[in-house]
Symmetry: C2
């Protein structure tokens, strides 16, 4: 490719694919390798998803999940005494790698081991562990996680199912009082689950104590649905049709009863005589503590989002390196030879910033998984760490799953009409991942959660605030107080002098590739947005608007602040990863640096309107960033194949024979 | 809903749904009404798409298409003497309305009547019309449009199939010389087409004359594939699985022959003794003239894009008006009542600018369809009008189909997990429309075409320029010359004084809702981007880069200029529509004005970085625009239901009973 004669071209980078894969694999390289080795045997599931009738495909997926349970790949996070691997971090790494394969299999693994098994592990106590976990881990007992209802998705606290304690019989009566309170979209419910962990409003002696979880049998050994339970199939879905989602109603007449011991009683219990007891006094805090233990689900979905983006990029980049279009005009090419798609500037612009962001999100996800491991392995036990983990998990999940949706779409379009054929992988990727943006919490709601944490500094006293409580709380503080309490405020202080502020500093392109400059920009944005939200909340309340209306008006600002916060965390993870490489890592370090810069600058470019509005970019520098991104893309071009090969998606799972290998 | 106490609230608008529908329906209200009345009978096809095996669903779709052919709804654009309706505009209106129904049916209608029948009508002469059209219109002869090849999609000029004239027998020999030259993704090919219009390199007496179209039989009356023809099924696709796409190869040994008369000879012919004759001397111009007659396909896909966005918005808005989430805190609401989704500011922000843009694109599409009608009905015959039509069709198709993809996705996410169930329409909408962005020309390639037209002022002498020729041509002109030749330059001159340029004019919010301000902004952007492209092309060539490399680097700028151009056309169509309403149209006029402003300002906001960089926005005004958009969204809120009801999507086609009507 001809170089711009006005510039001195830096030497081409040389990428050692194996070394880069090892870096991406990180601490759990063995786990990842073993799952990658396992997956090709199940490549045919990708085809079965297209060809088998739904009922048959569900059975096929169930069988695969059971086989995987046999290999130990699915339950690495459970204690060893129940047959698990005893390593949370390993279980996330395994799940992330499984996401290269069929996603119905992945999600069914997630339902059985993550949601259902995870709820028993985290919300239950020894008696539940002993009763269920070995069978969960082996797959002998299939279950489901019955939280969401037709009328309540993201607002779990308001759900309608009721569990009433009856001291006379020592049982809980489970009822669905209204149609809207029916459990809905519950994976494993329509066909395979024998039991459910049911989330219900706990009522003891006429008093409500908020949402709690109980183990409730759904089917007998033969698979017949038990009396008082009604189950309906959710039917065809956009994707993930190997997972049997369904609706569950418990007869309002009170036919369904479970023993008192079925209450998952780690955080609260009911004594035999009907006294409610809990170490956590505040109902809100109790609820959020319970929910917080389930954070692994969000970390897992986020991991899967990154993996699916990797698969899509692998196909699209390899296609761009095969497919030629229109004449090159290059003097060194054969006469009339068409130009490779990936040599077009626009094609680079479409794919490479997304490739760089995929690397960035990979490293952000690695940090998150590490924190999850530390907290859930008991290596870090303080409340604050736990709350920061929950916030990071929520925010990262939102960013990675939106990134997956966006990247898969762009990659499919970059493969033209061929991208539309099912054999070329995008059909399933698109359809199966689409729900990632809403399950385990709607992305916007998750970012609201992050925003609430930012505004209240994750203070434990406020963990049970609803959005209106949050509005009232923040409105009661001085804006400076809100800001000073934020972490980003302190981080920013260290970097403020890197930010160009006066006209004299703005007229050069220098520092565009300085990570401290990127960090300062991202941190400035975050702090400024938080301050702006606090100011608007305060003003709204001061002017007499009701808190609901204030929140409604400031909501997009809250989301923007939360997003800026998570973007900052992603960038920091990325910059730290580069900094952690030895100086003599040579091209490996230069390559990651290149990707890190491309990601950071693309983020600034995408939001340049905001940065200019807030005095942190001027026109020249903004244009210089756009030029720099073009240059960085041209530097990525010669190593693009190596960068996707390092993801190590097993060749059998890529399918797309015509797209990537030119096979008819 | 409480109003901001600091502002004086304008009175709520009252929308007459029937009057708004009539306005949207426009000139072809009767046609649209009759198709809307026809569609509910076929609502079950939407379910069949999920439940039937692929082969069976294809037959079902074929039967529906044949039934529709019987009603006359599918072939309104064909001359009356062959059973058509004799009205191009009516055929577009009908197609646009059919897009409320199952999209496999729509696309199969498009393949049979638009592509296949259209090619015979537009590229053939009397003898072809007499031989085929009556059977095409009635559906007795099903055919396909065999243009795209495995190796060549958007660059049709380079395709590989060959038609060699053999004067000894007076026949053309059709061959597929390489596997990459196989026809691919051809609708109707895998199962139903008896004949194909095949695009091939015409070779006469050893000389190549470029791409021409011929009628080539594929199957006999019994459906058996003819000797020398090989057909393969493209298999499962992301969507549109009721359409039988396939691949076609013609034996390279030369077994497939068709009579000389099968050449569609409107623009070029071969005499019996083997002389090539054409009134159009330049091969490039001849090719683009042929292709230009097929512009109706792009207009149709664009129309379908708008309709599918309407369906998605109808479901999402109605869901937002049913579903409640979290507490309101409103003093006027019942205690603990949750707030309607659509009362959340963020939800409004997600849906209403897209709703406004859907209206804008509807009116832009109406202008385009009107121009198509005028040109193809012979009301306007000049070359320039034809070229402008082609450019507008290409650009509008790109914008509407991207809008459809984006809007369907946002609406699906706005319906949460429920949006993922097939019964709620989004699964099929997403999967079926996904290919719209690449078929009838990849959107990026189409915008490049638009860009080329802008840069060369649609000069007929340059209509056959490839991208390298375009680079050389533009590089040879002064930038001022390029600019002065553009239409937008002259339009902008009339409005330049509306644009704030100096600091003194910037500090007020005045004029934010002035359409002349919006027009000036959009026109300024277009002109500036075109100038920038011309400058960069020139500089690159002057600095000695080869034209291919120059093009590759400037490509995203060309696309940006083209996009800005089409956005300006959309805005103008929208502003004209409002202006055309009588002053006493009252709330109808105010409503359209509101939507027009929301669309225009959202476009400026989305690109505010660029406007600030180029001195046309300052920080205060940019923030004022963001605030204004929030205000406009709050004004849309009380009439949102009416705005989607006016689209008049038949209730039966919405499905989504639980989402929109609360039915279990």
């Amino acid at each position: 490719m001809a170089e711009d004669p006005t510039a001195t071209a830096p030497p081409e980078l040389s990428v050692d694919v194996a070394a880069l894969t090892a870096l991406l694999d990180g601490r759990y390289a063995d786990v990842r390798r073993s799952v990658r080795a396992l997956l090709p045997a199940y490549a045919s599931v990708l085809e079965d998803a297209e060809t088998m009738p739904r009922a048959e495909f569900r059975e096929r997926v169930k069988d695969v999940v059971l086989e995987m349970a046999g290999t130990g790949a699915a339950a690495m996070g459970f204690p060893k005494e129940y047959g698990g691997g005893g390593d949370i971090g390993a279980s996330i790494a395994a799940f992330e790698t499984l996401a290269y394969g069929d996603l119905s299999v992945l999600v069914k693994v997630g339902v059985q081991f993550g949601l259902f098994g995870g709820a028993i592990l985290q919300l239950g106590t020894q008696r539940h562990h002993d009763a269920y976990l070995a069978d969960v881990v082996s797959g002998r007992l299939l279950g489901c996680f019955a939280m969401t209802e037709t009328g309540h998705g993201s607002n779990v606290q308001a759900l309608g199912t009721v569990a009433t304690y009856d001291p006379a019989t020592g049982t809980f009566v489970i009822t669905t009082p209204t149609p809207e309170a029916g459990k809905d979209y519950i994976g494993n419910a329509a066909a395979h689950a024998r039991v459910a962990v049911v989330f219900a409003q706990l009522e003891v002696a006429g008093e409500r104590h908020g949402v709690h979880a109980l183990v409730v049998p759904l089917r007998d050994e033969s698979g017949a649905v038990l009396p008082g339970v009604r189950i309906e199939d959710d039917g065809a879905k956009m994707g993930l049709n190997g997972v049997d989602n369904g609706r569950i109603w418990f007869d309002p007449a009170g036919i369904v009863r479970v023993p008192r011991e079925n209450l998952l009683n780690r955080f609260a219990d009911v004594t035999e005589d009907g006294t409610y007891v809990s170490d956590i006094e505040s109902p809100g805090r109790r609820f959020f503590t319970m929910l917080g233990t389930l954070v692994q689900g969000r970390v897992s979905v986020g991991a899967a989002g990154v993996s699916t983006a990797k698969t899509a990029l692998t196909v699209a980049v390899r296609y761009g390196l095969r497919r030629r279009q229109f004449e090159t005009g290059a003097e060194d090419g054969p006469e009339g030879q068409e130009q490779l798609l990936l040599d077009y500037g626009l094609h680079q612009r479409r794919l490479f910033p997304r490739l760089a962001r995929t690397y960035a999100l990979h490293f952000a996800q690695e940090v998150l998984a590490g924190e999850l491991h530390d907290v859930f392995s008991g290596l870090r036990t303080d409340e604050e760490t736990r709350r920061l983990l929950e916030s990071r998990a929520a925010g990262t999940k939102a960013l990675t799953t939106w990134h997956a949706t966006d990247t898969i779409q762009e990659c499919r379009e970059a493969c033209g009409g061929a991208g539309y054929l099912a054999v070329n992988r995008f059909a399933a990727l698109k359809a199966d991942t689409d729900v990632f943006t809403t399950f385990e919490g709607d992305n916007h709601v998750l970012l609201q959660l992050v925003g609430k944490g930012l505004l209240t500094d994750y203070a434990s006293d406020f963990s049970d605030l609803d959005q209106l409580g949050m509005v009232r709380f923040v409105a009661g503080l001085a804006v400076e107080t809100v800001l000073e309490r934020t972490r980003v405020h302190r981080l920013l202080e260290q970097l403020r002098d890197v930010l160009p502020g006066g006209d004299d500093e703005w007229h050069t392109d220098s520092g565009l590739r300085d990570p401290n400059y990127h960090l300062a920009m991202y941190r400035f944005r975050e702090e400024h947005l938080i301050g702006g939200v606090a100011r608007r909340l305060k003003r709204g309340v001061d002017e007499g608007m009701n808190p609901g209306e204030v929140f409604s008006r400031v909501q997009d600002h809250v989301i923007a602040a939360a997003r800026a916060h998570v973007e900052r965390l992603v960038l920091e993870a990325n910059v730290s990863k580069v900094a952690s490489l030895p100086e003599d890592a040579g091209d490996l370090r230069l390559t990651l640096n290149l990707l890190c810069d491309l990601h950071a600058l693309s983020g600034i470019e995408a939001d340049r309107g905001w940065f200019i509005e807030h005095g942190r970019l001027n026109t020249q520098r903004s244009k210089a960033i756009t030029r720099e991104i073009g240059d960085l893309c041209r530097r990525v071009r010669p190593i693009a194949r190596e960068l996707v090969d390092a993801f190590a998606v097993p060749e059998e799972l890529l399918r797309a024979p015509a797209l990537i290998r030119g096979e008819a």
